[in-house]
């Protein structure tokens, strides 16, 4: 039985408080040994000198668009993009066609990922059937079938009563509810963050209070029901603060932030760049800094991309009618490492925010390098400089606001259960 020996790398495994020069031995797709100067006869050796050896990244907010919208992305291309970004596990949102509100679609995605994918895929079931906000989905069966959480991402659950029941019902099966928080009446027909830039550009604004109001409601419902709540893509100062206060009170709430919300501001919309159009919208500098502070002080549990591929025809239109969202799997790592460079967070926290912490949110046994764990590993060169060329992305879609941007840091090799699924 020949294994794989990863030698001379700097192993960072925040779940186990490891940050040391160690060798790592893989056998049968699992990590069997971590130690100094491991020597194993007939093991295949990967020299990781100068590289970080981290758990494969975990992205808990991805739109794979499969089934139904395969012209944007599918399980194969989406997981290939994941592998290229160092991501070995991802959770995919249910706004596919049909919706992930039944066992058949859940199984289809899992099976396709297992047979043809380059990453582990964990489906997120919808809270309500058909994302219609009327009746709960069969969460018990979906959880048993492999769904790890429930969300109506893309739309909020408007009825507070139904959100209450969703939190209670999901908690019956020990699953979290992921909230896409926006008060639609406040959003109105807004297309970007409400503020000076929107005023200048003459675009209708989405006020921060649209997010804060719904975040406050959902936190209150989580507090009331005792259910587990995860806030998707927090983007405002207010919602970060609401989560911070709720955690201090002991509410079972976690949250995530996207790289674009901690990197960009609504200034990026200038020029009516539809690749800077997303939901929630890019916010003010003050909001961006609050998200960064939330990452630094532990309020924010995870960095998640909200990878939202769209066809060129859906973006190459007037700003007001362009679709929301950007691809993110292949820019997650460098944009997060940029925070380390800027001393917002240290390297260990950065890795934790992309590995064990998101894994914990959705309750999966990934994101660590513990002995016995699946050998999902990223070999990262944190210093390599490269330029983002949209045509070189592995996703089917090219909608990124970071085209031409100088990036620093990338995965050199990505291993999925011991198999190399990406190599630069």
């Amino acid at each position: 039985m020949s294994g794989i020996l990863i030698k001379n790398g700097r192993v960072i495994d925040p779940a186990n408080n490891i940050d040391a020069e160690l060798d790592l031995l893989i056998e049968d797709g699992r990590i069997v040994e971590l130690g100094h100067a491991l020597a194993v006869a007939d093991a295949e050796v990967i020299d990781a000198s100068g590289l970080l050896v981290t758990p494969g990244l975990v992205d808990i907010h991805v739109h794979l668009r499969d089934p139904g919208l395969e012209y944007k992305e599918d399980v194969i291309s989406g997981t290939r993009a994941a592998a290229a970004g160092g991501v070995t596990s991802l959770a995919c949102m249910p706004n596919t066609s049909p919706i992930i509100d039944n066992l058949a679609i859940c199984r289809y995605i899992i099976t396709k990922a297992q047979e043809q994918g380059s990453a582990n895929v964990f489906p997120i079931g919808s809270i309500t059937k058909g994302l219609k906000g009327e009746t709960l989905s069969e969460m018990g069966e979906l959880k048993e079938g492999g769904c790890v959480a429930f969300s109506d991402d893309g739309v909020p659950v408007v009825s507070s009563e139904l959100m209450r029941r969703g939190l209670e019902y999901a908690d019956t099966f020990d699953a979290p509810i992921i909230s896409h928080a926006e008060d639609l009446s406040l959003v109105g027909s807004g297309v970007m963050n409400e503020g000076p830039v929107a005023t200048e550009l003459g675009l209708k604004g989405i006020p921060w209070v649209a997010e804060d109001a719904m975040t406050a409601r959902d936190i209150m419902l989580a507090e009331f029901t005792g259910g587990r709540l995860h806030m998707a893509h927090v983007s405002t100062r207010g919602s970060v603060e609401l989560v911070r206060q709720a955690k201090a009170r002991g509410v079972r709430v976690t949250c995530e932030a996207t790289p674009h919300h901690f990197t960009l501001t609504d200034e990026a919309v200038r020029g009516y760049d539809t690749n800077a159009k997303m939901n929630p919208p890019l916010r003010s500098q003050q909001d961006r800094d609050a998200v960064r502070a939330g990452l630094a002080d532990g309020t924010i549990d995870a960095i998640a991309t909200d990878h939202a591929p769209h066809h060129i025809d859906e973006k190459n239109v007037e700003f007001a009618i362009a679709m929301n969202g950007i691809v993110g799997l292949e820019t997650l790592l460098p944009l997060t490492l940029q925070l380390v460079k800027e001393n917002v967070i240290d390297l260990n926290r950065a890795i934790a925010l992309m590995t064990c912490q998101p894994a914990r949110v959705i309750g999966i046994d990934r994101g660590t390098l513990s002995r016995g764990a699946f050998a999902d590993i990223a070999l990262i060169n944190p210093d390599l400089e490269w330029e983002l060329v949209p045509e070189q992305l592995h996703s089917k879609s090219r909608n990124t606001p970071f085209a031409g941007r100088k990036m620093q840091g990338t995965t050199m090799k990505t291993l999925l259960a011991g198999n190399i699924v990406f190599e630069r």
């Binding site: 009746t135 069969e138 969460m139 069966e141 139904l162 209670e168 019902y169």
Partner: protein, 311 residues
């Protein structure tokens, strides 16, 4: 035993001795129901009005038979035929009925607290046949009676109550009754159907059906109230049956001699499978049969416990 309750409003008003006394009294009436001539003159000359503001054929019939077997004159007034539909208040309706000098009013009403409301305003005895989702003492007592019949002793038994706790008419009475009689009561259901503070009623919440059923002596399945629960509490009856329905497989978790109970009417294939509902462990029809004896005891005790001489 000195039984000094003019009204039977809920289990709450009784202590363990009184509950046992009611069950013992029911025991002595039970035999009458199997006689050739199923009638004793105990309540001869008494008038009982069954005032049912909600349809409940089973409970009303059981009370009616109980009254008749004790030789009382029983009259049924249902919500639809009464003056309620004409806008009369509950108090006026009751006062009108009381003017006819009944000895006992047996009332089923959709509003929790309605039987206490009535008892506070009338001179005759009031027997609560279910007030909203508050108390349903005769059902809880017939359940206890049935358990005692099959298990001998209630104290020390593990009783699992499973289903829609929020909307159950009977479960609060059941928990209180079984708790006072010394049973360990476990409660299980989807969290959308578990109201807060259940532990304070004297039971233990468990997280899933497996834990609830394991080593249970008694399994009580509650009815899914399709008409009450609306559409936000569970996704489908199919999923409910899968995670909270009793079937031959999960019943094996309970003790081999566990009994299965259901207050009826059953949704077969939802909270209980037909195989279990008709299976060897079910005592569901015993519950119905015992209902008459228990209600005879309640009517007798509410009427003052006086024996009419046989001649």
């Amino acid at each position: 035993m000195n039984f000094s309750h003019r009204h039977v409003l809920g289990i709450k008003q009784f202590n363990a001795d009184e509950l046992n006394f009611i069950l013992d009294t029911a025991e002595s009436f039970k035999e009458i129901n199997t006689r050739k001539i199923k009638k004793v003159p105990t309540l001869r000359g008494k008038t009982i009005i069954n005032l049912f503001f909600e349809a409940s054929t089973r409970t009303r019939t059981s009370f009616e038979i109980a009254g008749k077997r004790l030789s009382a004159d029983t009259v049924n007034i249902s919500g639809s035929s009464s003056s309620v539909v004409k806008g009369e208040t509950l108090e006026d309706t009751a006062r009108n009925i009381e003017s006819m000098h009944p000895d006992i009013i047996v009332m089923r009403h959709g509003a929790s607290g309605s039987s206490e409301y009535l008892a506070a305003r009338l001179d005759c005895s009031v027997v609560n046949a279910g007030d909203g989702t508050h108390e349903h003492p005769s059902q809880a007592l017939l359940d206890a009676f049935t358990i005692r019949q099959h298990k001998g002793e209630i104290s020390g038994l593990k009783v699992a109550i499973i289903g829609d706790i929020t909307h159950s008419r009977v479960v609060r009475s059941n928990i209180d009754c079984l708790n006072k009689l010394g049973a360990e009561v476990l409660i299980c259901g989807p969290k959308t159907m578990l109201p807060p503070g259940l532990e304070r009623l004297g039971c233990r919440l468990v997280s899933g059906l497996t834990e609830a059923l394991t080593d249970a002596d008694v399994v009580m399945m509650l009815r899914i109230q399709r008409e009450r629960q609306g559409k936000t509490l569970i996704p489908s009856l199919r999923e409910y049956a899968r995670y909270f329905g009793l079937n031959e497989t999960n019943l094996k978790l309970a003790k081999p001699d566990a009994i299965v109970m259901h207050p009826g009417p059953m949704n077969r294939g939802v909270e209980i499978s037909t195989a279990v509902a008709d299976g060897p462990q079910n005592v569901i029809l015993d519950q119905v049969e015992n209902g008459v004896a228990v209600r005879m005891a309640l009517l007798y005790l509410a009427a003052g416990g006086e024996q009419q001489s046989e001649d």
